[in-house]
Protein backbone atom coordinates (compact mmCIF):
# COMPACT_ATOMS: atom_id res chain seq x y z
CA UNK A 1 0.00 0.00 0.00
CA UNK A 2 1.66 3.22 -1.14
CA UNK A 3 0.54 6.48 0.42
CA UNK A 4 -1.69 8.89 -1.37
CA UNK A 5 -1.72 12.61 -0.91
CA UNK A 6 -5.23 13.36 -2.09
CA UNK A 7 -8.37 11.38 -1.53
CA UNK A 8 -9.28 9.59 -4.74
CA UNK A 9 -12.89 8.69 -5.17
CA UNK A 10 -12.60 5.10 -6.28
CA UNK A 11 -16.25 4.41 -6.86
CA UNK A 12 -18.70 6.75 -8.52
CA UNK A 13 -22.31 5.90 -9.31
CA UNK A 14 -21.58 2.29 -8.39
CA UNK A 15 -18.78 2.00 -10.94
CA UNK A 16 -15.01 1.88 -10.51
CA UNK A 17 -12.40 4.09 -12.18
CA UNK A 18 -12.21 1.70 -15.14
CA UNK A 19 -15.99 1.37 -15.38
CA UNK A 20 -16.25 -2.01 -13.66
CA UNK A 21 -18.82 -2.93 -11.05
CA UNK A 22 -17.28 -3.76 -7.64
CA UNK A 23 -17.78 -7.49 -8.23
CA UNK A 24 -16.51 -7.54 -11.81
CA UNK A 25 -13.27 -9.05 -13.13
CA UNK A 26 -11.07 -7.26 -15.62
CA UNK A 27 -11.25 -8.70 -19.18
CA UNK A 28 -9.44 -12.01 -19.24
CA UNK A 29 -7.92 -13.81 -22.20
CA UNK A 30 -6.29 -17.23 -22.06
CA UNK A 31 -4.37 -19.04 -24.79
CA UNK A 32 -3.01 -22.54 -24.36
CA UNK A 33 -0.09 -24.29 -26.11
CA UNK A 34 1.64 -21.08 -27.12
CA UNK A 35 5.22 -22.36 -26.90
CA UNK A 36 6.78 -25.14 -28.96
CA UNK A 37 9.73 -26.14 -26.74
CA UNK A 38 7.83 -26.40 -23.44
CA UNK A 39 5.85 -29.50 -22.52
CA UNK A 40 2.91 -27.28 -21.64
CA UNK A 41 2.33 -23.56 -21.90
CA UNK A 42 -0.26 -20.84 -21.49
CA UNK A 43 -0.55 -17.12 -22.10
CA UNK A 44 -2.87 -15.04 -19.90
CA UNK A 45 -4.05 -11.45 -20.06
CA UNK A 46 -5.95 -10.11 -17.04
CA UNK A 47 -6.47 -6.42 -17.69
CA UNK A 48 -3.10 -5.08 -18.76
CA UNK A 49 -1.22 -7.94 -17.15
CA UNK A 50 0.47 -10.13 -19.74
CA UNK A 51 1.99 -13.32 -18.42
CA UNK A 52 3.20 -16.53 -19.95
CA UNK A 53 3.78 -19.85 -18.21
CA UNK A 54 5.70 -22.93 -19.32
CA UNK A 55 5.89 -26.37 -17.78
CA UNK A 56 8.78 -28.78 -18.29
CA UNK A 57 8.62 -32.27 -16.90
CA UNK A 58 8.35 -34.59 -15.22
CA UNK A 59 12.08 -34.69 -15.92
CA UNK A 60 15.35 -35.60 -14.22
CA UNK A 61 16.39 -33.52 -11.18
CA UNK A 62 19.61 -31.51 -11.27
CA UNK A 63 21.33 -31.23 -8.90
CA UNK A 64 20.65 -34.79 -7.81
CA UNK A 65 20.55 -34.23 -4.05
CA UNK A 66 17.27 -32.36 -4.44
CA UNK A 67 15.62 -35.56 -5.65
CA UNK A 68 12.82 -37.08 -3.54
CA UNK A 69 12.44 -40.87 -3.42
CA UNK A 70 8.66 -41.02 -3.19
CA UNK A 71 7.46 -38.09 -5.26
CA UNK A 72 8.22 -35.46 -7.84
CA UNK A 73 9.42 -32.12 -6.57
CA UNK A 74 7.75 -29.02 -7.96
CA UNK A 75 9.73 -25.88 -8.75
CA UNK A 76 8.07 -22.59 -9.55
CA UNK A 77 9.93 -19.53 -10.79
CA UNK A 78 8.14 -16.20 -10.94
CA UNK A 79 10.18 -13.75 -13.00
CA UNK A 80 9.49 -10.22 -14.18
CA UNK A 81 10.85 -9.03 -17.52
CA UNK A 82 12.96 -5.87 -17.15
CA UNK A 83 10.52 -3.93 -19.30
CA UNK A 84 7.36 -5.19 -17.57
CA UNK A 85 7.03 -2.26 -15.17
CA UNK A 86 6.96 1.53 -15.36
CA UNK A 87 10.58 1.98 -14.32
CA UNK A 88 12.97 -0.57 -15.83
CA UNK A 89 13.95 -3.18 -13.26
CA UNK A 90 17.30 -4.98 -13.09
CA UNK A 91 17.05 -8.53 -14.39
CA UNK A 92 17.21 -11.38 -11.90
CA UNK A 93 15.21 -12.30 -8.81
CA UNK A 94 14.59 -9.91 -5.92
CA UNK A 95 13.09 -10.68 -2.50
CA UNK A 96 9.57 -10.18 -3.79
CA UNK A 97 10.04 -12.72 -6.60
CA UNK A 98 11.43 -15.26 -4.16
CA UNK A 99 8.32 -14.88 -2.02
CA UNK A 100 5.95 -15.03 -4.99
CA UNK A 101 7.74 -18.10 -6.34
CA UNK A 102 7.23 -19.80 -2.99
CA UNK A 103 3.55 -18.97 -2.63
CA UNK A 104 2.93 -19.77 -6.31
CA UNK A 105 4.44 -23.21 -5.88
CA UNK A 106 2.43 -23.77 -2.70
CA UNK A 107 -0.75 -22.70 -4.50
CA UNK A 108 -0.33 -25.38 -7.17
CA UNK A 109 1.43 -28.26 -5.44
CA UNK A 110 -1.65 -29.33 -3.39
CA UNK A 111 -3.42 -30.51 -6.57
CA UNK A 112 -0.45 -32.05 -8.41
CA UNK A 113 -0.24 -35.83 -8.09
CA UNK A 114 3.46 -35.76 -7.36
CA UNK A 115 3.58 -39.37 -6.17
CA UNK A 116 3.15 -40.49 -9.80
CA UNK A 117 6.67 -39.37 -10.65
CA UNK A 118 9.17 -40.22 -7.91
CA UNK A 119 12.73 -38.84 -8.26
CA UNK A 120 11.69 -36.32 -10.90
CA UNK A 121 10.96 -32.62 -11.09
CA UNK A 122 8.10 -30.62 -12.53
CA UNK A 123 9.36 -27.16 -13.45
CA UNK A 124 6.93 -24.29 -13.76
CA UNK A 125 8.26 -21.03 -15.19
CA UNK A 126 6.16 -17.88 -15.12
CA UNK A 127 7.31 -14.79 -16.98
CA UNK A 128 5.61 -11.48 -16.30
CA UNK A 129 5.82 -9.60 -19.60
CA UNK A 130 3.72 -6.67 -18.41
CA UNK A 131 2.57 -5.97 -14.87
CA UNK A 132 -0.51 -4.08 -13.75
CA UNK A 133 -1.48 -5.38 -10.27
CA UNK A 134 -2.42 -9.01 -9.94
CA UNK A 135 0.59 -10.65 -11.60
CA UNK A 136 0.85 -13.39 -9.00
CA UNK A 137 -2.76 -14.47 -9.56
CA UNK A 138 -2.46 -14.17 -13.35
CA UNK A 139 0.74 -16.24 -13.18
CA UNK A 140 -0.94 -18.96 -11.11
CA UNK A 141 -3.87 -19.09 -13.55
CA UNK A 142 -1.47 -19.46 -16.48
CA UNK A 143 0.65 -22.05 -14.68
CA UNK A 144 -2.38 -24.13 -13.79
CA UNK A 145 -3.48 -24.35 -17.44
CA UNK A 146 0.12 -24.99 -18.58
CA UNK A 147 0.33 -27.93 -16.15
CA UNK A 148 -2.84 -29.38 -17.67
CA UNK A 149 -1.46 -28.75 -21.17
CA UNK A 150 1.71 -30.65 -20.21
CA UNK A 151 -0.45 -33.62 -19.21
CA UNK A 152 0.56 -33.46 -15.54
CA UNK A 153 -2.06 -35.36 -13.53
CA UNK A 154 -3.89 -33.01 -11.16
CA UNK A 155 -6.81 -33.24 -8.75
CA UNK A 156 -8.26 -30.14 -10.41
CA UNK A 157 -7.34 -26.78 -11.89
CA UNK A 158 -6.26 -23.96 -9.62
CA UNK A 159 -7.89 -20.58 -10.18
CA UNK A 160 -6.63 -17.43 -8.57
CA UNK A 161 -7.93 -13.94 -8.01
CA UNK A 162 -7.67 -11.09 -5.52
CA UNK A 163 -10.23 -9.04 -3.66
CA UNK A 164 -9.36 -5.68 -2.17
CA UNK A 165 -10.73 -2.79 -0.18
CA UNK A 166 -10.80 0.61 -1.82
CA UNK A 167 -12.64 3.71 -0.76
CA UNK A 168 -14.30 1.73 1.99
CA UNK A 169 -15.71 -0.90 -0.33
CA UNK A 170 -14.72 -4.49 -1.02
CA UNK A 171 -13.97 -4.96 -4.74
CA UNK A 172 -12.92 -7.84 -6.96
CA UNK A 173 -9.64 -8.03 -8.88
CA UNK A 174 -8.09 -4.60 -8.08
CA UNK A 175 -6.16 -2.91 -10.87
CA UNK A 176 -3.03 -0.78 -10.44
CA UNK A 177 -4.54 2.40 -8.97
CA UNK A 178 -6.78 0.44 -6.61
CA UNK A 179 -3.85 -1.64 -5.47
CA UNK A 180 -1.53 1.33 -4.97
CA UNK A 181 -3.96 3.56 -3.11
CA UNK A 182 -6.39 1.05 -1.64
CA UNK A 183 -6.76 -0.10 1.95
CA UNK A 184 -6.25 -3.83 1.55
CA UNK A 185 -5.32 -6.46 -1.01
CA UNK A 186 -6.05 -10.16 -0.61
CA UNK A 187 -5.05 -12.61 -3.35
CA UNK A 188 -6.30 -16.18 -3.05
CA UNK A 189 -6.17 -19.35 -5.11
CA UNK A 190 -8.56 -22.25 -4.88
CA UNK A 191 -9.53 -25.65 -6.24
CA UNK A 192 -12.77 -26.17 -8.18
CA UNK A 193 -14.31 -27.49 -4.95
CA UNK A 194 -13.40 -24.32 -3.07
CA UNK A 195 -10.37 -25.29 -1.01
CA UNK A 196 -7.90 -22.50 -0.45
CA UNK A 197 -4.33 -23.07 -1.69
CA UNK A 198 -3.13 -19.45 -1.63
CA UNK A 199 -4.11 -16.78 0.84
CA UNK A 200 -2.23 -13.59 1.43
CA UNK A 201 -3.42 -10.28 2.74
CA UNK A 202 -2.03 -6.92 3.56
CA UNK A 203 -3.70 -3.70 4.55
CA UNK A 204 -6.50 -3.54 7.07
CA UNK A 205 -9.74 -5.50 7.25
CA UNK A 206 -12.24 -6.16 10.00
CA UNK A 207 -13.30 -9.75 10.40
CA UNK A 208 -16.57 -8.99 8.60
CA UNK A 209 -14.80 -7.29 5.73
CA UNK A 210 -12.45 -10.24 5.52
CA UNK A 211 -15.38 -12.64 5.16
CA UNK A 212 -16.89 -10.45 2.47
CA UNK A 213 -13.59 -10.22 0.59
CA UNK A 214 -13.11 -13.97 0.81
CA UNK A 215 -16.51 -14.74 -0.70
CA UNK A 216 -15.96 -12.19 -3.44
CA UNK A 217 -12.52 -13.53 -4.30
CA UNK A 218 -13.93 -17.05 -4.43
CA UNK A 219 -16.60 -15.95 -6.87
CA UNK A 220 -13.84 -14.44 -9.01
CA UNK A 221 -11.94 -17.73 -8.95
CA UNK A 222 -15.05 -19.56 -10.06
CA UNK A 223 -15.46 -17.25 -13.07
CA UNK A 224 -11.81 -17.70 -14.02
CA UNK A 225 -12.16 -21.44 -13.66
CA UNK A 226 -14.90 -21.44 -16.28
CA UNK A 227 -12.62 -19.70 -18.77
CA UNK A 228 -9.72 -22.02 -18.01
CA UNK A 229 -11.95 -25.04 -18.47
CA UNK A 230 -13.44 -23.79 -21.72
CA UNK A 231 -10.01 -23.07 -23.20
CA UNK A 232 -8.73 -26.52 -22.30
CA UNK A 233 -11.81 -28.26 -23.72
CA UNK A 234 -11.44 -26.40 -27.01
CA UNK A 235 -7.73 -27.19 -27.04
CA UNK A 236 -8.38 -30.90 -26.67
CA UNK A 237 -11.21 -31.13 -29.19
CA UNK A 238 -9.09 -29.12 -31.58
CA UNK A 239 -6.11 -31.40 -30.99
CA UNK A 240 -8.28 -34.37 -31.73
CA UNK A 241 -9.50 -32.67 -34.91
CA UNK A 242 -6.61 -30.83 -36.46
CA UNK A 243 -3.69 -31.56 -34.12
CA UNK A 244 -1.23 -28.92 -33.10
CA UNK A 245 -3.24 -25.72 -33.55
CA UNK A 246 -3.45 -23.10 -30.86
CA UNK A 247 -6.64 -22.51 -28.95
CA UNK A 248 -7.74 -19.06 -27.99
CA UNK A 249 -10.72 -18.00 -26.01
CA UNK A 250 -11.53 -14.54 -24.87
CA UNK A 251 -14.03 -14.04 -22.12
CA UNK A 252 -15.09 -10.99 -20.19
CA UNK A 253 -17.11 -11.93 -17.16
Amino acid sequence: MIFMEEKISFIKDGLRLDGRRPDELRPIKIEVGVLARADGSCYVEMGKNRVIAAVYGPREVHPRHLQEVTRAIVRYRYNMASFSVEERRRPGPDRRSYELSKVGREALEPVILTSYYPRSVIDVFVEILQADAGTRTAGINAASVALADAGIPMRGLISSCAAGKVGGEIVLDPMKEEDNFGDADMPIAMTPSGEITLLQMDGGLTIDEFHEAMELAKSGCRQIYEVQRKVLIERYSQLEGERGEQAEVTACD
Binding site: Y98, P110, M186, E195, I196, I207
Partner: protein, 258 residues
Amino acid sequence: MTSVISEIRKDYLYNLMLRGERGDGRSFDGYREISIQRGLIEKAEGSALVKLGKTQVLVGVKMQPGEPFADSPDRGVIITNAELVPLASPLFEPGPPNEVGIELARLVDRGVRESKSLDLKSLCIVPGEKVWIIFIDVHILDDCGNIMDASSIGAIAALLNTIVPAKKFGLGEDYPLEVKDVPIATTAMEFGGVILFDPDSDEEPIASTKMTVISTADGRICGMQKSGTGMLATDQVYRIVDIACERAREIREKFLEV
Protein backbone atom coordinates in the same frame (compact mmCIF):
# COMPACT_ATOMS: atom_id res chain seq x y z
CA MET B 1 16.86 -43.79 9.32
CA THR B 2 15.71 -40.23 9.62
CA SER B 3 12.55 -41.00 7.74
CA VAL B 4 11.77 -44.04 9.90
CA ILE B 5 12.05 -41.93 13.03
CA SER B 6 10.03 -39.13 11.51
CA GLU B 7 7.33 -41.63 10.44
CA ILE B 8 7.16 -42.95 14.00
CA ARG B 9 6.96 -39.44 15.43
CA LYS B 10 4.28 -38.55 12.93
CA ASP B 11 2.21 -41.57 13.99
CA TYR B 12 2.76 -40.80 17.65
CA LEU B 13 1.74 -37.15 17.32
CA TYR B 14 -1.22 -38.07 15.12
CA ASN B 15 -2.51 -40.56 17.68
CA LEU B 16 -2.11 -37.97 20.41
CA MET B 17 -4.12 -35.50 18.36
CA LEU B 18 -6.92 -37.99 17.84
CA ARG B 19 -7.21 -37.99 21.63
CA GLY B 20 -7.17 -34.18 21.64
CA GLU B 21 -3.65 -33.96 23.04
CA ARG B 22 -0.26 -32.49 22.12
CA GLY B 23 3.24 -33.74 22.90
CA ASP B 24 3.85 -31.16 25.63
CA GLY B 25 0.36 -31.22 27.06
CA ARG B 26 -0.83 -27.92 25.59
CA SER B 27 -4.35 -27.40 24.24
CA PHE B 28 -4.66 -27.13 20.44
CA ASP B 29 -4.84 -23.35 20.61
CA GLY B 30 -2.40 -22.85 23.46
CA TYR B 31 0.93 -21.09 23.27
CA ARG B 32 4.20 -22.10 24.89
CA GLU B 33 5.63 -19.84 27.58
CA ILE B 34 6.75 -16.44 26.37
CA SER B 35 9.47 -14.22 27.82
CA ILE B 36 10.80 -10.97 26.46
CA GLN B 37 14.11 -9.41 27.50
CA ARG B 38 14.57 -5.90 26.18
CA GLY B 39 17.72 -3.82 25.81
CA LEU B 40 20.25 -6.66 25.74
CA ILE B 41 22.13 -5.03 22.85
CA GLU B 42 23.18 -1.57 24.03
CA LYS B 43 24.75 -0.76 20.65
CA ALA B 44 21.36 -1.09 18.97
CA GLU B 45 18.76 1.66 19.25
CA GLY B 46 16.32 -1.01 20.40
CA SER B 47 16.50 -4.75 20.98
CA ALA B 48 14.51 -7.68 22.31
CA LEU B 49 15.35 -11.29 23.00
CA VAL B 50 12.17 -13.34 22.74
CA LYS B 51 11.83 -16.86 24.11
CA LEU B 52 8.80 -18.81 22.93
CA GLY B 53 9.19 -22.14 24.66
CA LYS B 54 12.76 -23.06 23.74
CA THR B 55 12.71 -20.98 20.57
CA GLN B 56 14.96 -17.91 20.87
CA VAL B 57 14.96 -14.91 18.55
CA LEU B 58 16.99 -11.72 18.97
CA VAL B 59 15.79 -8.60 17.19
CA GLY B 60 17.89 -5.46 16.92
CA VAL B 61 16.71 -2.08 15.65
CA LYS B 62 19.23 0.39 14.26
CA MET B 63 18.42 3.90 13.01
CA GLN B 64 20.38 6.28 10.83
CA PRO B 65 19.56 9.18 8.55
CA GLY B 66 19.45 8.39 4.84
CA GLU B 67 17.71 9.19 1.58
CA PRO B 68 13.96 8.63 1.21
CA PHE B 69 12.52 6.61 -1.68
CA ALA B 70 11.69 8.73 -4.70
CA ASP B 71 7.98 7.89 -4.50
CA SER B 72 7.63 8.80 -0.81
CA PRO B 73 10.00 11.75 -0.25
CA ASP B 74 8.51 12.75 3.09
CA ARG B 75 8.46 9.39 4.79
CA GLY B 76 10.96 7.34 6.76
CA VAL B 77 12.13 3.98 5.46
CA ILE B 78 11.76 0.57 7.11
CA ILE B 79 14.16 -2.20 6.09
CA THR B 80 13.55 -5.59 7.60
CA ASN B 81 15.94 -8.48 7.32
CA ALA B 82 16.02 -11.95 8.85
CA GLU B 83 19.10 -14.09 9.32
CA LEU B 84 18.40 -17.78 9.75
CA VAL B 85 21.97 -18.47 10.81
CA PRO B 86 23.15 -22.09 10.89
CA LEU B 87 23.75 -21.76 14.65
CA ALA B 88 19.98 -21.91 15.15
CA SER B 89 19.08 -25.20 13.49
CA PRO B 90 20.67 -28.19 11.79
CA LEU B 91 18.44 -27.33 8.83
CA PHE B 92 19.75 -23.79 8.27
CA GLU B 93 22.66 -23.23 5.95
CA PRO B 94 25.14 -20.38 5.66
CA GLY B 95 24.55 -17.95 2.83
CA PRO B 96 22.10 -15.27 1.84
CA PRO B 97 18.50 -15.69 3.04
CA ASN B 98 16.61 -18.42 1.20
CA GLU B 99 12.89 -18.23 0.44
CA VAL B 100 11.92 -19.21 4.00
CA GLY B 101 14.04 -16.42 5.47
CA ILE B 102 12.79 -13.95 2.89
CA GLU B 103 9.14 -14.85 3.53
CA LEU B 104 9.70 -14.46 7.28
CA ALA B 105 11.34 -11.04 6.90
CA ARG B 106 8.66 -9.84 4.53
CA LEU B 107 5.90 -10.97 6.89
CA VAL B 108 7.51 -9.24 9.88
CA ASP B 109 7.89 -6.15 7.72
CA ARG B 110 4.26 -6.32 6.59
CA GLY B 111 3.08 -6.51 10.18
CA VAL B 112 4.94 -3.33 11.17
CA ARG B 113 4.06 -1.51 7.97
CA GLU B 114 0.41 -2.41 7.43
CA SER B 115 -0.54 -1.97 11.09
CA LYS B 116 0.74 1.62 10.70
CA SER B 117 2.49 1.15 14.04
CA LEU B 118 5.14 3.59 12.85
CA ASP B 119 4.15 7.03 11.63
CA LEU B 120 6.52 7.21 8.68
CA LYS B 121 5.78 10.90 8.14
CA SER B 122 7.13 11.71 11.57
CA LEU B 123 10.41 10.05 10.53
CA CYS B 124 11.06 12.61 7.83
CA ILE B 125 13.96 14.96 8.60
CA VAL B 126 14.26 17.06 5.43
CA PRO B 127 11.58 16.20 2.84
CA GLY B 128 13.06 14.61 -0.27
CA GLU B 129 16.55 14.64 1.21
CA LYS B 130 16.94 13.05 4.58
CA VAL B 131 14.71 10.71 6.53
CA TRP B 132 15.24 8.16 9.28
CA ILE B 133 16.04 4.67 8.03
CA ILE B 134 14.90 2.02 10.49
CA PHE B 135 16.64 -1.32 10.17
CA ILE B 136 14.83 -4.19 11.85
CA ASP B 137 17.22 -7.13 11.96
CA VAL B 138 15.83 -10.48 13.08
CA HIS B 139 18.51 -12.92 14.22
CA ILE B 140 17.20 -16.42 14.88
CA LEU B 141 19.21 -18.05 17.67
CA ASP B 142 17.39 -21.33 18.39
CA ASP B 143 14.66 -22.66 16.12
CA CYS B 144 12.49 -24.89 18.27
CA GLY B 145 9.45 -24.07 16.17
CA ASN B 146 7.32 -21.09 15.17
CA ILE B 147 10.08 -18.57 14.61
CA MET B 148 7.50 -16.51 12.74
CA ASP B 149 5.54 -15.51 15.83
CA ALA B 150 8.68 -15.10 17.94
CA SER B 151 10.15 -12.80 15.29
CA SER B 152 7.00 -10.74 15.03
CA ILE B 153 6.83 -10.31 18.80
CA GLY B 154 10.54 -9.52 18.88
CA ALA B 155 10.23 -6.87 16.20
CA ILE B 156 7.48 -4.90 17.88
CA ALA B 157 9.05 -5.36 21.33
CA ALA B 158 12.35 -3.97 20.01
CA LEU B 159 10.56 -1.04 18.38
CA LEU B 160 8.72 -0.28 21.63
CA ASN B 161 12.15 -0.12 23.23
CA THR B 162 13.83 2.04 20.57
CA ILE B 163 15.41 5.42 21.29
CA VAL B 164 15.82 7.63 18.21
CA PRO B 165 19.58 8.48 18.20
CA ALA B 166 19.07 12.11 17.20
CA LYS B 167 22.03 13.43 19.16
CA LYS B 168 24.56 11.20 17.45
CA PHE B 169 23.61 12.77 14.12
CA GLY B 170 23.31 16.36 15.35
CA LEU B 171 19.53 16.33 15.20
CA GLY B 172 18.66 17.38 18.73
CA GLU B 173 18.02 15.30 21.82
CA ASP B 174 17.35 11.56 21.71
CA TYR B 175 13.72 10.56 22.16
CA PRO B 176 11.72 7.34 22.28
CA LEU B 177 10.39 6.12 18.94
CA GLU B 178 6.64 6.55 18.80
CA VAL B 179 4.86 3.26 18.24
CA LYS B 180 1.15 3.62 17.44
CA ASP B 181 0.00 0.03 17.31
CA VAL B 182 1.18 -3.38 18.44
CA PRO B 183 0.69 -5.90 15.63
CA ILE B 184 1.01 -9.53 16.68
CA ALA B 185 1.42 -12.50 14.35
CA THR B 186 -0.05 -15.82 15.38
CA THR B 187 0.51 -18.98 13.42
CA ALA B 188 -1.52 -22.15 13.16
CA MET B 189 -0.73 -25.41 11.38
CA GLU B 190 -3.06 -27.98 9.90
CA PHE B 191 -2.54 -31.74 9.95
CA GLY B 192 -5.17 -34.39 9.30
CA GLY B 193 -8.02 -31.93 9.79
CA VAL B 194 -6.69 -30.70 13.12
CA ILE B 195 -5.64 -27.08 13.70
CA LEU B 196 -2.80 -26.43 16.17
CA PHE B 197 -1.46 -23.04 17.23
CA ASP B 198 2.18 -22.22 17.92
CA PRO B 199 3.63 -25.47 16.53
CA ASP B 200 6.94 -26.58 17.99
CA SER B 201 9.81 -28.17 16.09
CA ASP B 202 8.34 -31.65 16.55
CA GLU B 203 5.02 -30.59 15.11
CA GLU B 204 6.16 -28.35 12.28
CA PRO B 205 7.65 -31.09 10.10
CA ILE B 206 4.31 -32.90 9.94
CA ALA B 207 2.28 -29.80 9.03
CA SER B 208 0.99 -29.76 5.50
CA THR B 209 -0.18 -26.17 5.83
CA LYS B 210 0.56 -23.23 8.07
CA MET B 211 -1.28 -19.98 8.31
CA THR B 212 -0.13 -16.76 9.90
CA VAL B 213 -2.55 -13.98 10.83
CA ILE B 214 -1.29 -10.59 11.97
CA SER B 215 -3.76 -8.46 13.87
CA THR B 216 -3.76 -5.03 15.46
CA ALA B 217 -4.82 -3.68 18.84
CA ASP B 218 -8.32 -2.85 17.62
CA GLY B 219 -8.83 -6.42 16.35
CA ARG B 220 -8.36 -5.73 12.66
CA ILE B 221 -6.41 -8.08 10.43
CA CYS B 222 -3.41 -6.38 8.86
CA GLY B 223 -1.66 -9.34 7.29
CA MET B 224 -2.22 -12.99 6.42
CA GLN B 225 -0.15 -15.66 4.76
CA LYS B 226 -0.87 -19.30 4.05
CA SER B 227 2.24 -21.38 3.51
CA GLY B 228 3.04 -25.02 2.91
CA THR B 229 1.87 -27.43 0.27
CA GLY B 230 -1.52 -28.27 1.70
CA MET B 231 -4.90 -26.59 1.44
CA LEU B 232 -7.50 -25.25 3.85
CA ALA B 233 -11.28 -25.24 3.73
CA THR B 234 -12.88 -21.79 4.02
CA ASP B 235 -14.32 -22.57 7.44
CA GLN B 236 -10.89 -23.67 8.64
CA VAL B 237 -9.53 -20.32 7.51
CA TYR B 238 -12.32 -18.48 9.32
CA ARG B 239 -11.73 -20.46 12.49
CA ILE B 240 -7.98 -19.82 12.41
CA VAL B 241 -8.55 -16.09 11.97
CA ASP B 242 -10.93 -15.94 14.94
CA ILE B 243 -8.61 -17.77 17.31
CA ALA B 244 -5.57 -15.92 15.96
CA CYS B 245 -7.02 -12.52 16.80
CA GLU B 246 -7.95 -13.77 20.28
CA ARG B 247 -4.46 -15.17 20.98
CA ALA B 248 -2.85 -12.01 19.62
CA ARG B 249 -4.93 -9.91 22.01
CA GLU B 250 -3.80 -12.02 24.98
CA ILE B 251 -0.13 -11.84 24.01
CA ARG B 252 -0.36 -8.09 23.44
CA GLU B 253 -2.00 -7.45 26.78
CA LYS B 254 0.27 -9.71 28.75
CA PHE B 255 3.63 -8.80 27.29
CA LEU B 256 3.51 -5.65 25.25
CA GLU B 257 1.05 -3.20 26.64
CA VAL B 258 2.85 -0.16 27.90
